[in-house]
């Protein structure tokens, strides 16, 4: 494969990196031209591509784990909903509290959406799994995982709403000024 072809692949990969990290893809593209042999170029592109993915993942994880208060809050919310879920005979309190708390968490902390939803969902499951005879899950204990996906989706939805609201306010602010 030509340096141009490999550089194009790296450039496409660079487009999915966070904005501040795209220069690393551009820098790697330039170095592919400097490699002396085709095998060296290919090895550099393959290894460098993996490196770019690693840079992106490290950035995202650093963003999530730099907010211990959000993670702690999500754990508490998940545990509280879990305790309530195994204490009451109906499922409605679970449904309502998952929807309300996950939307609120996503809107309050959009940057941690997804992870906070996953922690809430895992908290609910953890409480039910720790209880020896969890009331709603006596027949099928696998059901404890059911709130996980809606919790993640709802925090992401909440984050989307918060971001849309911020953009709307900025547009109105710049229009009026």
């Amino acid at each position: 494969m030509t340096p141009r072809g490999l550089a194009r692949i790296i450039a496409v990969l660079g487009a999915v990196l966070p904005a501040g990290q795209r220069r690393w893809a551009e820098a790697l593209c330039a170095e592919i031209y400097a490699a002396e042999t085709p095998s060296e170029r290919l090895a550099m592109a393959l290894s460098g591509g993996m490196g770019l993915i690693r840079i992106a993942v490290e950035r995202v994880l650093a963003g999530w784990f730099s907010r211990p208060a959000v993670l702690g809050g999500a754990m508490l919310i998940g545990a509280a909903i879990g305790v309530m879920d195994i204490s009451v005979p109906t499922r409605w309190p679970l449904r309502v509290t998952v929807v309300v708390s996950c939307l609120a968490m996503g809107m309050a902390r959009p940057a941690s959406a997804g992870l906070s939803g996953a922690i809430i969902g895992l908290g609910i499951a953890a409480v039910a799994l720790l209880d020896r005879a969890p009331n709603p899950y006596t027949h099928d204990r696998g059901d404890v995982w059911i709130p996980l996906i809606p919790a993640v989706a709802l925090t992401i939805l909440g984050a989307g709403l918060a971001n849309a609201w911020t953009r709307h306010r900025e547009t109105r602010g710049s229009g009026g000024g």
């Binding site: 820098a27 593209c29 330039a30 170095e31 550099m44 460098g48 490196g51 840079i55 490290e58």
Partner: protein, 100 residues
């Protein structure tokens, strides 16, 4: 991003190579060959060092037209001081691998 980058033998190798000629700008390919490191290991380390303010980067404006610009790297004064300390601690054996 203030603080100290994660320590690893690979990070120490990159720092040791950069500190060897601290005022000289280096290319990625040049570093890969000098250290004997793959791009997939080198670039995340360079990104981390830059995020911590230890690495200065500059685009090479002399790149031929039609080719992507190369990026140059060298340690900042903070990176130079940090690298010296990290390498000295590694030599004394007081730097623990738990830092990365």
């Amino acid at each position: 991003m203030p603080g100290t980058p994660r320590f690893s033998p690979q990070t120490a190798a990159v720092l040791a190579e950069l500190i060897r000629r601290p005022s000289r700008w280096r290319y990625g390919y040049d570093l890969m060959r000098s250290i004997g490191m793959q791009a997939g290991t080198l670039y995340p380390i360079l990104a981390r060092l830059a995020a911590f303010g230890w690495l200065e980067t500059a685009w090479d404006e002399s790149t031929p037209v039609g080719r992507p610009r190369r990026q140059n790297y060298r340690l900042t004064p903070a990176g130079h001081a940090g690298a010296r300390e990290m390498i000295a601690r590694a030599a004394r054996g007081t730097l623990k691998g738990a830092h990365g």
